[in-house]
Every structure is written in C-alpha cells, then in structure tokens.
Symmetry: C2
Subunit: 225 residues, 2 copies
C-alpha cells in the first residue's frame, strides 16, 4: 500500500497542481474541500471535476459556516471583491483560513493514519495573505507535531507546500507536464454560476498573467470578452 496524503483542494489552479504533484510523488490522495459560504461556490464543482480527473481515493467536502464569522469579501457579500490591484493585504483575505483548513486536514489525516498534508500556497505570485508564507507553514507544522495522538506516538506530520517558491508560470508548466487540465479549474473570486471567470479580480489577474508568461494558451472561460 502507498502512503496516504490529505490534499486541500479548492478547485483552483494551484491546489489542482498540488494534487497532481502529490499523486505523481506516489501518494494515495484524499482530497479535502471546504464549503465555507464562499462567493465562488462554483469552485466546489471544479474541485469535484479536478479530483475525479487527477484521481483520488476519496474526496470529502466539509461544510464550514465561515460566513457566520465573516470579515472577508469572499464570505461577506456586503464587501465587494476588488477589481484593481491595491497595496497591502486585500479584503479577499479570509481570517485564519489556512489555519482552519489545515487544522481540519490534520484531523482527517489522523483518522486516515496519514502523515502528509499538501496545500497549494505560493509566496511569489500571490495576494499577500499572511497564511501563505513559508514561516506560517513551518509554524503550523511544529504545532501540528504537538497536537495529535499520532504525533505524540512518534509519527511526524509534514506539511508540503510544493508550489511555495514557484512563479505562476512555473506552476502552470509543471501542471501541464503532469497532465493537469486547467480548463476544469476555477480560480476567479466571483465566477458566475457556469464557472465563467470575471477576468478582473486579483485571482484572475494572477492566473491570466501566469498563462501569458508560461506561453501557454489560457483555457479559462471568461464571462465577457
């Protein structure tokens, strides 16, 4: 039997690539998606397509009412998604999101007897979210190794962030090599019900630029244009 890994899968470009890398490394993959009241619920449909195309042993979609907490344009519909670049951490930042997602992944991993967690965070072509930085991932891993019965019994947990130091273009090239069909993924923060991207939000801009820099045709379906 192969080793098991839990892979956080949003349905976007980065997490699809992280899943493909985990598969390629030889892990039996358990994909975890969170239905957290996000605007871009079409992401979850994308996550299902991606999990099925790349191949996972199980895909768990956990409901998580982060809209009750709010504080982000992604979970509070009264806050607009910005359509221009601006300095600082954008309002699409979801308070403690990666802490919450990794905590749930850690719990599931323990039940599965898995010691490897994958997350598609990236610190180069990213929105400046604090919980996408290497220093955060390292601190989470240290904490995780004190948190669970499994860790206390000597099984070291590892948090893999294989995209951390890659540009968006490098991520896309790597994914293409591994056979990822990016036409299945949705990155847009405000995609329409058919999964068509706005083309102007932060996430769309980073993605579009990535395909341009990679010199690869952009398979994204845009709502207009």
């Amino acid at each position: 039997m192969s080793e098991r890994a839990v892979v956080l899968l949003s349905g976007g470009l980065d997490s699809a690539t992280a899943l493909a890398i985990a598969r390629d490394t030889g892990y039996d993959c358990y994909a975890l998606s969170l239905s957290y009241g996000q605007r871009h619920a079409t992401e979850l449909a994308a996550a299902k397509r991606v999990a099925s195309a790349i191949g996972v042993n199980e895909h768990l979609v956990l409901p998580m009412a982060l809209d009750l907490i709010g504080g982000s344009a992604l979970t509070d519909h009264s806050i607009r998604v910005p359509e221009k670049e601006s300095p600082g951490i954008p309002v699409t930042y979801v308070p403690a999101r990666n802490t919450i997602f990794l905590a749930l992944a850690l719990g599931w991993a323990e039940v599965l007897e898995a010691d490897d967690l994958f997350i598609g965070v990236n610190a180069l072509d990213y929105s400046g979210y604090p919980d996408c930085r290497p220093v955060f991932i390292e601190a989470f891993e240290q904490m995780a190794n004190l948190a669970t019965r499994r860790a206390v019994e000597g099984q070291r947990v590892q948090i893999h962030a294989p995209l951390m130091q890659m540009t968006k273009a490098q991520i896309i090239r790597r994914g293409i090599t591994l056979g990822v069909d990016y036409g299945l993924t949705v990155s847009c923060y405000q995609a329409d019900a058919e999964g068509r991207a706005c083309g102007v939000c932060d996430s769309c801009r980073l993605r579009r630029r990535g395909f341009e820099e990679a010199g690869i045709a952009d398979p994204t379906r845009y709502a207009s244009g």
Copy 2:
C-alpha cells in the same frame, strides 16, 4: 471600551470557569461553541445557559461536521464511550479538536479585533489529550502570530489557558468564588436528553472527584443514583 476576548465555551465545568475568569479580568467576552456532531449535544444547551448566566457580549454557535471525519467516541456513535479508566489517550480524544477550535476562535477574534483567546484546557486532572498540554498551547500561539493580517500588522495574539496548572478541585473553588453555578454545566460525554450525567465516563469521574476534593456539594444531576 474594554478589550475583547473570544472564549471557547463547551458547556462543561472547565470552560465555564475559563469564561468566568475572562469576565473577572475585565474582558468583553465573545463565547464560541461548536456544534460538532458530538454525542453530548446537551452540552450546547448548557453552553447557552452558562453564557447567559455569566454574561457575554455575543454567543456564536458554529456548526462543524466533525462527524464526517470521525475517529472518536464523541463523534462516531459506533465507538463506545469507556466507563472505566484505562492507560493512554482514551478513544474520546477527537482528532485535532483543539487545533480546529482554536483556529476558528482565531478567525472570529480577528473579525472582532480581539487579541485574547481563552480555552479551558487543563494538564493535571485531564484525560491525557495531547492538545491540552502547555507545549501545544505555546506552539499554537506562535503559529497564530504568523497566521493573520492582524498579527502581521503588529497586534500580538495571546492564548490564555488559565486552568492549565490547576487541579479540578482548585478550578471548582475558583469558579465558586467567581459565582459560577456549576448546576448549569454538563461535563458528561454521554449525558441524556435532559442533561443528566452518566457518572461513570472519564469526564464524570474527574468532575465528581473534583467536587469531593474541593469539599463542595456536587450539583450534578446524575441519570441514576
């Protein structure tokens, strides 16, 4: 305006005391309870009574489908709650529970602009759960200070575990001094629909012994006896 604190409130004896301590320290308290598919759902009714009796600015009950993850006698009804003491970490341990709960508290705290989190963990009269130990709480605090926008902008988050080094008897005496009505709390892992305790699970045994050692009449309603 007073400083705000987010207090994890299960409805049990320890978290009620932690809330009373946070109030006594002068914080405006925001109580967070998780409805996580636990057997002892009467805990949540207790949490509401306790929040109301001690006084909070808001009480948020977040649904959390940890039963979809399972792996514990508290969330998987096919695993029996043990009624005798046994060595090691018991099957009532919920994988990564305090990591998940503190992560959600951290997210809510950021929205509330609160920098103080309270959790009623205890490392003396406890069940041996790894995520109740000081070393875990310290590691979580370090991670939390790298995780959020608020922390990155210079507001240090602190995780308060005021019961950490107290015996159950000391906790009870402290709570009584602060006016906590322990008759409102439910600690039992398998309380009945009326909130009556089994008297034999780990949590009941620790609680009962605490009242005995404190020399205080036990207000717990037991199902039998």
